[in-house]
């Protein structure tokens, strides 16, 4: 369950950071028009259709469900202030699954199948003088009962 940490490597090349901004900031991914499969993160080639595939840009809605989750109690470097936090596999409404933090709740507050929506948060900073990486996290969908 270290998916998002692989996505956000502090040492990652600046050009990669730039290229991934649309997918990290607003969940822009890919779709294959040939077989109607959606992909996240972005793909250049459809693994099902190969050269027959036609890949286009796909804007995901940010809505999804918790497919699986775990509570991280001892986080990697850069996440010391955030532990304990919830890391989940989210199944997007449009199909693809991704790994992300679910904020504002603890392990006891969620269950598999809960509806979530994307929010925009700080993920990591390279160093106190370095770049700040922003991107998607999720929260339980709307309305807190008031």
């Amino acid at each position: 369950m270290r998916g998002h940490l692989v996505i956000f490597m502090p040492s990652e090349n600046l050009a990669i950071t730039w290229r991934r901004i649309p997918e990290r900031y607003r969940l822009t991914g890919s779709a294959c028009e040939t077989c109607r499969t959606n992909y996240f993160p972005t793909r250049k080639l459809c693994p099902k259709c190969r050269r027959k595939g036609k890949i286009t840009m796909k804007q995901f809605s940010g809505k999804g469900k918790i497919y699986s989750f775990t509570e991280v109690t001892s986080g990697p470097a850069g996440f010391e202030l955030e532990v304990p936090y919830l890391l989940a596999i989210i199944e997007l409404a449009e199909g693809p699954r991704l790994t992300a933090q679910v904020v504002g709740v603890g392990e006891k507050d969620v269950k598999i199948g809960d509806s979530v929506e994307m929010i925009f948060r700080r993920i990591l900073e390279d160093s106190p003088e370095g770049l700040i990486h922003y991107g998607y996290k999720f929260r339980l969908l709307k309305k807190v009962s008031i």
Binding site: I21, P22, Y25, R26, T28, Q59, L81, E82, V103, G104, I119, F120, R121, R122, I123, I132, Y134, K137, K142, K143, V144, I146
Partner: protein
């Protein structure tokens, strides 16, 4: 005929965490009751460790966009007013524009004028929309402000954002902005030098020459410019560095304080700086009926005030109802809270190294 301009969508965002004034007072050996009553602040919002002025601005802007129903690609300008931009050099506005999907065909910039940078952005958008330079402009006030540990500001400095999409098609308005008037002088009542972590201020005596002079000067100027008087407005929203100053402005100007209270949120979320009067406006728009008239006056140390005469339109009912079902209104953010103690607060605000 002068081109009409108005708000076509708006949104707010307040972090979930709260710390009570009494808890801060306890740590510094102050009398909790005296502090809380003296400032008119019961509790203030505290950002999560992964929130900053950019993330709050994005969330408030997404709410505004959702309510407006417009295509983000039609936004021609993004202005983010803040005194806590995450970078000293590198715009927050580009982060917000990218997160909304408004890039690349637009102009964007960060604005700084202490607590009135958000309303300065509204004025810039009004001018650009009215002159046909752009179709829609987004103006945001967003801050995660900090006070030096133990300083009086520590009881009030809070976090929040409010965003307004300004357009010129009358049928899209939720509220029309009928007039604006500004009052500005060089009055150094509050400042922060480059590399300084916390602001410095002139202390208690700055209230009269700074806050009251500018807020009342701008409000009076707007009355005169529009030929209106206090009794013609249903709501007044003033910059709210604490829970008391806005009510005092009302008393000094002969305004019914009951018209100020619906837009006064500092007692429950603290002073959100650039977002303070914009959040007040968002809260009033959430409850105002079509036809209601609102007078908004911001204040930024340094110092200046922007006043706006706003009239709620028929369009608000439908957009507000539709938004309520899918998005978070200010009342949702205020109700959705979790209290933290001073220890957790220190962690959230990363204050350790400066104590």
């Amino acid at each position: 005929m002068v081109q009409s301009v108005g708000i076509v969508g708006y949104g707010a965002c307040v972090p979930k965490f709260r710390i009570k004034s009494g808890e801060i007072a306890r740590v510094w050996g102050e009398e909790p009751e005296r502090i809380s009553k003296g400032l008119g602040i019961l509790e203030k919002s505290v950002p999560d460790v992964d929130e900053d002025a950019a993330t709050l601005a994005v969330e408030a802007s997404r709410n505004a966009l959702l309510m407006s129903g417009i295509d983000p690609q039609a936004i021609g300008a993004v202005y983010i007013g803040s005194e806590s931009h995450p970078y000293a050099v590198k715009p927050t506005a580009t982060i917000v524009a990218e997160a909304l999907g408004a890039t690349p065909e637009l102009t964007a910039a960060d604005i700084e004028f202490a607590c009135k940078a958000g309303t300065a952005g509204i004025q810039m958008c009004m001018g650009m929309v009215a002159s046909n330079m752009i179709r829609y402009g987004l103006a945001v006030g967003s801050d995660t402000s900090q006070g030096r540990p133990g300083d009086a500001l520590e009881y009030s400095a809070a976090a929040g954002a409010a965003a307004f999409i300004i357009g010129r098609e009358r049928q899209e308005f939720v509220a029309e902005i009928e007039a604006t008037y500004s009052f500005t002088t060089d009055t150094p009542d509050f400042w922060r030098r480059e590399h300084a972590e916390f602001p410095s201020h002139g202390g208690r005596f700055t209230g009269a020459p700074a806050y009251f002079r500018h807020v009342m000067g701008a409000t009076q100027g707007l009355f005169e410019k529009t030929g209106t008087k206090a009794s013609e407005y249903d709501y007044f929203v003033f910059h709210q560095p604490n829970g008391k100053f806005p009510l005092e402005v009302a008393r000094k100007m002969g305004i019914d304080v009951e018209k100020v209270k619906p837009g006064l949120f500092t007692p429950v979320i603290g002073n959100t700086y650039s977002a303070a009067s914009p959040i007040g406006l968002a809260g009033v728009l959430d409850i105002a009926k079509p036809g209601a008239r609102i007078l908004l006056t911001s204040f930024g140390s340094g110092a200046g005030s922007d006043s706006f005469a706003i009239r709620v339109t028929e369009g608000i009912a439908g957009k507000r109802e539709a938004f309520k079902k899918v998005g978070w209104q200010l009342a949702d953010y205020i109700a959705h809270k979790e209290y933290i103690d001073y220890g957790v607060y220190v962690k959230h605000r990363r204050k350790l190294k400066s104590m």
